[in-house]
Amino acid sequence: MANYAMAFDYKLCINCHACEVACKEENGIDLGAKNHRLWIEEEGEISGDFWNLKRDTLTYTQMQCQECQDAPCLKACPNGAIYVDTNGIVRLHKELCDLTLACMKACPYEARYIDERDQITDKCIFCADTRLAAGETTTACQITCPAKLRYFGDLDDKESEISRVLQERKHFTLKSELGTKPKLFYLE
């Protein structure tokens, strides 16, 4: 029983792809660039001419399921296949999914992809059926990151590192105007 969330010290990212590979290996994601639970979004670009470049216009944003507390995918699924587990993670009853793709269309973060092997829509679940199921308390992306920019933990535990960092530092959520109440936080 926990209320898992993640916070990103996102400006530290060097786009090295370690998190992406670690996630694929840990969770047995099918090969193919289109199949992935998380990715790094390059936003903006370095502007100007070579001798006078403006470099802070390019940022790397860690993207994955935002673990909305008011999840559009959950509401959209006609089969009731999507639920929130006891750890506060948005999950899928695989046997109920028949690929209506309603969840994919509803998701404002493009967090889901089609898992061809299991014939379901898949997304990040904080390594719930791999690491967390085995008693680990870290996610694959978090532990491998050279910058250690991914904080993962229990929001209900006020002593947890993520609770502490969210108390201490300013942060924002993506597309907060949609009212989805994400549990992924980006630290200023």
């Binding site: 792809h17 289109k34 979004e41 001419d49 470049l53 532990i143 491998t144």
Partner: protein, 765 residues
């Protein structure tokens, strides 16, 4: 069209029917070998860096590689390549069986043989060659590109078999940097990135060419970072100050930084007084040549005000560090460029102290003793002829190859043993390497993958990957020294063997026949035989080539470690993969990031009698500059309609070693040539256009990536692509090889290839 440098997510949105069922590398892993579950500490080998990890094995299959938080060096992280190590282990293109060539060299026709047949074939060829060369063992050249087991490999072919011709990657990588540091302050040292509050980096790309702990420390330390580079790399993008400049002109920048330090008396006077030799000569030289920031601006295109500002900031910082880089063979001035960097550090007093080049206290491991035979007929090495210093250990590749190909070597090189060293791709002018290999009577390759070089071999001996073997314990680092052990995670797949097992079999096969050749030619040995008899002369003379392998490696490790450090250290290495005095007492700094040595226990400053040598007399005697000096020939000038080619790599690849990796190729399947966007527009070159790049040597075809992140007269593309071996099914035919067109020039101080001196033309197809 955006084909690179972009997230690849967004082309999904189609219907299910449009999605192609991906071939899964995981399918292979479903076949269990042995029903075992385990967590084993291991050391990574996806690059030369060596980070520590724990491998999780389920039902005999390696399922996940995780970082090892006990290792001070790798600071609890694994990079993308480290994570993809599983796919190197289970790469279906791996060399699986010993093979003997049946077709022409390079045409890929081999027959599968037993290990004994492979050894027998090598023996027959080698006995004939060494007999014909009258026991000159140096007719065998041997080379190695992998960090682990290198010394043991040298022991086998050098100490035991008796060849002097060993070559490694140093002369196409970092020997100028190592040599410059050694000759200036008496030690190669180690850079304390974490302890520095101000870092200048010339060219090194620590955020795309990850090195632990340096890259990690840069991410976790509050410091000012200044980057000089003719290309806006991720490191440059993330820097506090990015100073674009012309390729090969970093030395001008360094000279003017020294000028400012001397002229404005910013240097650490106390340190200079105590440690510098020939400081007056340096001062006179810099001032006399008028290496002002204004002068340097004309060479580099970095504004003089900026140079002065950076120099002043550097010398007023508490612990400034001019970062020396790693792969450092760029241009003719490279040795003196690295010396200038060391001298800048020294002028600031950043030697043997926190945040500088530290000497530290590496843990010295005892060596196993072996009995080395003496071969009177073995000739000395020739690749350092004409080189002022050079590495006595790893030699100078381009000079070696030149002398072999031109037949100007004092004796013939007739056989080559090549271990995990892709010489067909890793040094400039591939056709010359091919010519050299074609001249050999015997080429043997020990490798895991069928690289372009392996496909030139007569005999291929499949070596297992790093996850399938234990290696001898290794000592790491100087500031926070530790021992680390590569434990065996799973048994070797197919018929592959560890290097030790390969050499053991080869040694058994070769020992007696080669001894007999020595007995035929070597008068000293003949005398010994007369005195003590054949058997004793063989045994006591050290002619048993597999002597080192009488015990298996885990037994050798156990003996060596327990004898020197005791049982507890051995147990720590077997269960945690690492040992250092404070293991288990790491304090968490934040979020899975740890402090290893308590600060007061780190070896920032150690007692050391040394001097800073400004002036190297030996260089002067040989007609070279004794101090860092600019020559007009170093000026950046490009013939009309030409571009300067520079090279580097992507964060997801280690030279040619990883381009076949099925997961890593998703990030960078081929390389693209970076060309300035304004220039590209003038030439009507768009992203993805096929371009012909031509140098005086050859031409290649590569796709274009126009960008504002590179200087107008410069083009860049990553090394490691353009594989010619069709056996590497993922890498074959993808992208282009830089060494097809890089001209094979080398500097004469260390005999290092100068990789950034080739001008090319571009034609759109």
């Amino acid at each position: 069209m955006k084909i690179i440098e972009r997230s690849r997510r967004k082309f999904l949105q189609g219907s299910v029917a449009l999605c192609v069922y991906a071939t899964s590398s995981f399918a292979f892993k479903e076949k269990p070998q042995t029903p075992t579950n385990s967590i084993t500490p291991y050391l990574c080998n996806m690059c030369r860096n060596k980070c520590a990890g724990f491998a999780r094995v389920e039902n005999g299959i390696v399922k996940k590689l995780n970082p090892n938080h006990y290792f001070p060096k790798s600071r609890n992280m694994l990079c993308p390549k480290g994570n993809a190590g599983i796919d190197a282990l289970y790469d279906s293109d791996r060399l699986k069986y010993p093979l003997i060539r049946v077709g022409n060299r390079g045409d890929g026709r081999y027959k599968k043989v037993t290990w004994d047949e492979a050894y027998e074939y090598i023996k027959e060829k080698l006995v004939k060659i060494i007999d014909e060369e009258k026991d000159n063992r140096s007719t065998i050249a041997y080379c190695n590109g992998e960090g682990f087991n290198k010394n043991e490999y040298i022991q086998f072919f050098g100490s035991k078999i008796g060849s002097t011709n060993f070559l490694d990657e140093g002369s196409i990588c970092l020997n100028t940097k190592l040599g410059a540091t050694l000759l200036t302050i008496g030690d190669v040292g180690e850079m304390d990135v974490a302890g520095s509050d101000y870092i200048i980096i010339s060219g090194a790309n620590r955020y795309e060419s990850l090195i632990t702990p340096d890259s990690v420390d840069m991410l976790h330390t509050q410091q000012k970072l200044v980057v000089l580079d003719p290309r806006c790399t991720v490191t440059a993008q993330k820097a506090d100050e990015y100073l674009p400049l012309h390729p090969g002109t970093d030395l001008a920048f360094c000279l003017s930084v020294i000028y400012v330090a001397l002229q404005e008396k910013l240097y650490n006077k106390k340190y200079v007084e105590e440690f510098f030799q020939d400081f007056d000569k340096l001062q006179e030289h810099i001032v006399k040549n008028d290496y002002t920031p204004e002068w340097a601006e004309r060479k580099t295109d970095i504004p003089h005000k900026k140079i002065r500002q950076i120099a002043r900031e550097f010398f007023s910082a508490k612990n400034p560090l001019y970062y020396l880089g790693r792969r450092s063979v760029w241009s003719q001035n490279d040795f003196q460029l690295r010396r200038a960097m060391v001298l800048i550090n020294a002028l600031a007093g950043s030697i043997n102290r926190e945040g500088g080049i530290i000497f530290g206290a590496p843990i010295r491991l005892n060596q196993e003793e072996i009995n080395e035979p003496l071969y009177n007929a073995s000739e000395g090495r020739f690749d350092l002829d004409g080189i002022v210093y050079g590495s006595q250990k790893g030699g100078a590749w381009l000079n070696f190859r030149e002398k072999v190909v031109n037949k100007t070597a004092p004796y013939s090189i007739r056989a080559m043993f090549i271990r995990k060293h892709n010489i067909m791709q890793n040094m400039p002018n591939i056709s010359k390497t091919k010519k050299m290999l074609e001249m050999m009577d015997l080429v043997v390759a020990l490798d895991t993958m069928p690289s372009d070089t392996v496909m030139m071999a007569d005999v291929i001996l499949p070596e297992c990957s790093y996850l399938e073997r234990e290696d001898m314990v290794v000592s790491f680092n100087r500031l926070e020294p530790s021992l680390a052990l590569r434990n065996q995670v799973v048994k070797p797949l197919y018929e592959s063997r560890s290097m030790q097992d390969i050499l053991k079999g080869l040694g058994k096969k070769l020992a007696k026949p080669l001894f007999e050749i020595s007995a035929k030619y070597d008068e000293d040995l003949q005398e010994s035989i007369e005195e003590m008899g054949m058997r004793r002369a063989y045994r006591e003379g050290g002619y048993d080539l597999s002597e080192l392998y009488k015990q298996d490696i885990s037994e050798r490790n156990r003996k060596l470690i327990t004898a020197q450090f005791g049982e507890k250290v051995y147990e720590s290495l077997k269960t945690k993969g690492v040992w250092y005095p404070y293991i288990g007492e790491e304090s968490s700094l934040s979020n899975e990031y740890y402090e290893y040595y308590p600060k007061e226990k780190r070896f920032y400053t150690v007692p050391r009698d040394y001097k800073v040598h400004c002036y190297l007399k030996k260089l002067e005697k040989n007609g070279f500059d004794a101090m860092p000096t600019w020559h007009n020939s170093y000026d950046f000038s490009i013939p009309k309609e030409h571009f300067r080619l520079i090279t580097g790599r992507y964060v997801t690849s280690t030279q040619t070693a990883t381009t076949n990796n099925i997961v890593l190729k998703e990030f960078q399947e081929q390389n693209y040539v970076w060309i300035n966007n304004v220039v590209a527009k003038e030439l009507d070159i768009k992203e993805g256009d096929a371009l012909v790049l031509s140098s005086s040597l050859s031409s290649i075809v590569i796709k274009a990536y126009p960008t504002n992140k590179i200087a107008p007269q410069v083009v860049w593309f990553a090394h490691g692509f353009g594989t010619a071996s069709a056996e590497l099914t993922n890498a074959f035919g993808k992208g282009a090889s830089d060494n097809e067109i890089i001209e094979d020039k080398f500097e004469k101080i260390y005999g290092c290839a100068t990789m950034h001196e080739t001008n090319i033309t571009i034609r759109k197809i």
